[in-house]
C-alpha cells in the first residue's frame, strides 16, 4: 500500500459532504499548495447560496475557486464547486457535464454520481474524500473509486458534526485514511507529484 502511494500520482481530488462539511473543507483547503491536481467539491445544500460558497472558499486558499461550468475542461490547481440543483458528471475528455435529472438519494447534486463518473475517467488517479453528512449519498461512489484503484479518505466520525455518513461509509469500505480535519490538507499536499 505504502509503496503504491509513493509511485502513484493523482490528477483529481473529490470532496463530498453535506451537513456540517463547510468548516472541514475550509480546513482542508487552507494549507493546500497549488499542485498537479484539481479539486471538485460536491456539497448538499439549499439552492441559491452559490456565489457565497465561492466567496467563502475563495478567500481561504491559494488555489483558484470557481463553479464548475458545463463542458469546461478540468485544470490543475483549481477548486471546482458543483452548482446547486444539477448533477455534475465528468466526461472521458476530462470536461464537466451538467445534468438536471431526478434526484439521487434525495440529492442534486449527488455525490455518488460525481464520484462514479470520476472513477470511470480517472481510475487510480482519483482521490475521494467523504466528510460529515446525514445521508448515505457518496458511499457507492466511494466504493467505485476504491474498485478502480483510487485513494479513499473518510473523515474520522468522532470529529464529524453529523457522523452518520462517515460511520456508514466505514461499515462497507476500508479507506486508505481515516482523517481528522486538520490532517486532510496535509495528506493532500503529500500527494502532489514530485518533479522527476
Amino acid at each position: 500500500m505504502e509503496e503504491n502511494n509513493m509511485t502513484a500520482h493523482y490528477d483529481l481530488v473529490l470532496i463530498g459532504g453535506s451537513a456540517g462539511s463547510i468548516q472541514i473543507i475550509l480546513k482542508a483547503l487552507q494549507p493546500l499548495l497549488p499542485g498537479n491536481f484539481a479539486v471538485v467539491i460536491v456539497l448538499h445544500r439549499k439552492p441559491s447560496s452559490d456565489s457565497t460558497l465561492i466567496d467563502i472558499f475563495g478567500g481561504k486558499t491559494a488555489l483558484r475557486v470557481k463553479e464548475a461550468d458545463e463542458k469546461e475542461r478540468i485544470q490543475p490547481a483549481t477548486v471546482y464547486i458543483a452548482p446547486a440543483d444539477y448533477h455534475l458528471l465528468i466526461e472521458k475528455d476530462g470536461s464537466f457535464s451538467l445534468d438536471d435529472s431526478e434526484k439521487v438519494n434525495f440529492s442534486r447534486p449527488s455525490i455518488d454520481i460525481t464520484f462514479e463518473s470520476a472513477a470511470e475517467v480517472y481510475g487510480s488517479a482519483a482521490v475521494a474524500i467523504l466528510l460529515s453528512g446525514a445521508s448515505i449519498d457518496g458511499i457507492e461512489g466511494l466504493q467505485k473509486i476504491k474498485t478502480r484503484g483510487g485513494l479513499c479518505i473518510v473523515q474520522d466520525p468522532d470529529t464529524a458534526e453529523v457522523d452518520f455518513l462517515p460511520r456508514q461509509a466505514l461499515l462497507s469500505i476500508r479507506p486508505d485514511h481515516i482523517a481528522r480535519p486538520d490532517e486532510i490538507g496535509r495528506i493532500l499536499n503529500g500527494l502532489n507529484r514530485k518533479p522527476a
Binding site: 463542458k71 466526461e91 435529472s101 475517467v121 457507492e140
Partner: protein, 274 residues
C-alpha cells in the same frame, strides 16, 4: 441504486442500432450522461444485463418510445427559476406586446409545465389572444402528458410558490380545477399552444419566432451538437428576437455568440442584434 457497469463500446453499439433501425441519433449527446441513463434503464426495467436491453430495443419497436422517454430527462416544473420568469414578465413581454402577432417556440418542452407557465404570463399581460406557442419535444410520451394539461395536485404548492416569486399577483389555484389527486389547467391556456415532436438533432427550422425558449436541453449535448442547435435557433429567430436558455447554458462561446447580447448579468436571456 447500484448502477450496472456498461462499457463505452456497448453504448456505441446501442447508439448505432438506434440510428440504423429507427433514425434517432444520440451520438451527439454528452457521453457520461447518456451512459448513466442507459445503466439506469437496465436497472429500472429489470434487464439481467445490457445485452437484453439491446435485444429488446432492436426487436421490439414499441419499446422505442419507452427508451426515448427514459433516456431523455423530463424533470421540469412550472415557473422554474422564478427570477427568470420575472425577467420575461418585466423586460421581454412588454416588447413582444408591440407586435401584432407573437410566435414563441418552446424547444424541448417535455411535459409542458413551462409552456403553461408562459401561457399564464401572456394571459396576465393580455396578449395571449394574439400569441401562438409552438411546443416541441423529441419524446412523444412527454407530449401526450403535455396535451392533457393535467398534473399531480401535490406539485401545486411548489408551482404556486414559484408563481408568486415570479411576480404573479393572482390566485394561482384559479388557473386549474382540482379533482381527486390531480390538477387540470384551464383549457383557455391551451388554445394557442401547438404541440408536436421535433428532434433538434435531425429536424430543421419550421417558422420564424420572436422568442425561443430552450432550457436545460443543451447541457445534454456535446459542443458540436450544441452549436448546431444554437444555429438552428438563430435561423428561426427574428432580428431583435429573444433566446432563453437554462440557468447554466451559454451562447457566448458558440459560433452565433457575436450576434447576441445578454439582457442582464443574471438571467440567461439574449437578444439577437444582427
Amino acid at each position: 441504486m447500484q448502477q450496472q457497469n456498461i462499457r463505452d463500446e456497448e453504448v456505441e453499439l446501442l447508439l448505432n442500432d438506434l440510428i440504423e433501425i429507427y433514425g434517432y441519433d444520440f451520438t451527439g449527446y454528452s457521453g457520461a450522461s447518456i451512459k448513466r441513463r442507459i445503466s439506469r434503464l437496465v436497472l429500472l426495467d429489470k434487464f439481467p444485463s445490457f445485452a437484453e436491453l439491446r435485444y429488446r430495443l432492436i426487436s421490439d419497436k414499441n419499446y422505442l418510445a419507452r427508451f426515448i422517454e427514459e433516456i431523455t430527462v423530463n424533470v421540469t416544473e412550472m415557473f422554474r427559476d422564478p427570477s427568470f420568469y420575472r425577467t420575461l414578465r418585466e423586460d421581454v413581454l412588454p416588447v413582444l406586446a408591440t407586435h401584432p402577432f407573437i410566435r414563441i417556440w418552446h424547444a424541448g418542452c417535455s411535459t409542458g409545465e413551462e409552456v403553461i407557465s408562459m401561457a399564464i404570463l401572456l394571459q396576465e399581460a393580455n396578449i395571449l389572444h394574439k400569441s401562438r406557442l409552438y411546443a416541441t419535444d423529441i419524446n412523444p410520451l412527454a407530449l401526450q402528458k403535455a396535451r392533457t394539461g393535467i398534473y399531480p395536485l401535490s406539485l401545486m404548492k411548489q408551482f404556486s410558490e414559484n408563481y408568486i416569486q415570479s411576480g404573479g399577483k393572482k390566485t394561482f389555484s384559479d388557473y386549474y380545477t382540482a379533482k381527486y389527486s390531480l390538477a387540470k389547467f384551464d383549457d383557455s391556456l391551451k388554445e394557442n399552444i401547438t404541440l408536436s415532436t421535433h428532434n433538434l438533432v435531425s429536424d430543421w427550422s419550421f417558422n420564424e419566432f420572436q422568442l425561443i425558449v430552450c432550457r436545460n436541453v443543451l447541457i445534454y449535448f456535446n459542443k458540436e451538437l450544441q452549436d448546431k442547435a444554437l444555429n438552428l435557433f438563430d435561423h428561426s429567430l427574428e432580428r431583435f428576437g429573444y433566446l432563453a436558455l437554462g440557468s447554466k447554458e451559454q451562447v457566448k462561446f458558440s459560433s452565433i455568440g457575436h450576434k447576441y447580447i445578454q439582457l442582464n448579468n443574471k438571467e440567461r436571456i439574449w437578444k439577437k442584434i444582427t
